[in-house]
Amino acid sequence: MSNNTSTTETLNQDWLGDDDIYRENILDHYKNPRNSGKLKKYTQTHKEHNPLCGDEIQIYLLIKKEKISSISFEAKGCAISVASMSLLSEWAKQKSVEEIKKLNPEKMIEMLGIKLGIVRMKCALLGLKTILNALEAENESYNK
């Protein structure tokens, strides 16, 4: 029945999330996240979590002359949230604070290069939320 087919197509279209999002690139960043750990010296740190699924990211930033001199993070969560944060951390190195603040969800998704539905979007954007809030907050710094 043609009706059934079009509904199926719509279901597949709306869903936007087949195995594609778990392709090599994402899996690699999930299994071997870049810049993982805690910086010895940092000027900013901030933690965010997604209460619905338990994804958690803590970011450490060393900012010198308005640039991200070093960045690291500790993440606990799903493949998308960890991989996104890992990709973001690579991109953020040596970028100016201003450039980071210009990042928005659209640019973040572009950076990831995968299509995401509404549900997983939050996972992908957790890293972005964390770094932006880290830059906003007047928070603790640590200097050994």
């Binding site: 059934n4 195995d19 778990y22 899996l27 999930y30 699924c53 338990g54 994804d55 998308i80 997983r120």
Partner: protein, 396 residues
Amino acid sequence: MNLKKDFPMLNKTIYLDNAASSLTPTPVVKATEEYYKLYRANVHRGLYKEAEKATKEYELAREKVARFINASPEEITFTSGTTASINLLAYSLSKALKEGDEILLSQLEHHSNLVPWQQLAKEKKLILKFIKVKDFQLDMEDFKNALSEKTKIISIAYVSNVLGTIAPVEQIAIEAKKYNPIIVVDAAQAVGHIPIDIKKLNCDFLCFSGHKMLGPTGIGIMYGKKEKLEKISPFLYGGSMIKSVSFSKTEFADLPYKFEAGTPNISGAIGLAAAIDYLTAIGIKNITHTETELTSYALKKLSALHNVELYGLTNAPEQRTSVISFNIKNIHSHDIAHILAGQNIAIRAGHMCAMPLVQEVLKQQAVCRISFSFYNTHRDIDYLITALKKIQNKLK
């Protein structure tokens, strides 16, 4: 009964999220369609033919629900669902409570049977206690210790939506008799899976939803013992729940209308009746048997996988239903659910609207959950297991 014809979604999806909501068979959809097309009218008001028919079908639905749980029709109130029913009770029962009174829940509760009481306790300075979970069951020793003359309300999930554990409600009622608290049962996960007999349970109130038992969404039931319902005040006020209204005062309607303000979910009630017909034709005992069998098979297959952690009783099939929560170590439940979805296998991942149970008792951030209905098959489970193995290879 032809499963593929009655449940078209089964042709495309391996649906394993029945604890969230069941599928709705074609006869139920047809029953609601008939209302909308052929006798679309409000109930209890009009004098014309369609109004008569609508009223008759609505009240017939009430009678069917009553028979389904061994109660009388005047003890059955239609609501929008379990959550609404429990909120109604929390509100209406609160009038008789004072500071220091205790409400006893369990650690297994779904948010809908936790948050209303929690907020009530905050507002009226009541004490909220939780029966502990031990080995995935209610710790009856802990229950006996928590019970006292201060306990005014006990509200328990008949079946846990995370662990599938069946609570010993009858035993709880017997044990509590000496203090005579109000006993409320959240039967959302029990209906359509195990038989419900309110006389056997001897509870004062029992709530459930239509959409978890093949019915439409937006309809649910609050059952209450007649003498208890007569004592408590309504929650919602307005049309339909009155006998007479003047500018200065109102006389409320008799049971069960006292708690049904406004135009009810007429099509929902009619659909629910059709769902009861469908389930009764198969026989609840047969359904329980089929699901128990599927559960044993699934537990066997799941526990044979590497790195799987199962939550719930694995050796007591009579004490649990077909709700199975699990985790695969080092793989996030959301990733699992997402990849399975790509293969048209529908499972649930997260905290199941039971954050305290999952996060504080099971100590997990999130879990995966599969839950069966009688239309699931061994093949569904085989597909799931194959898919899980592939995921383990991919994400390890």
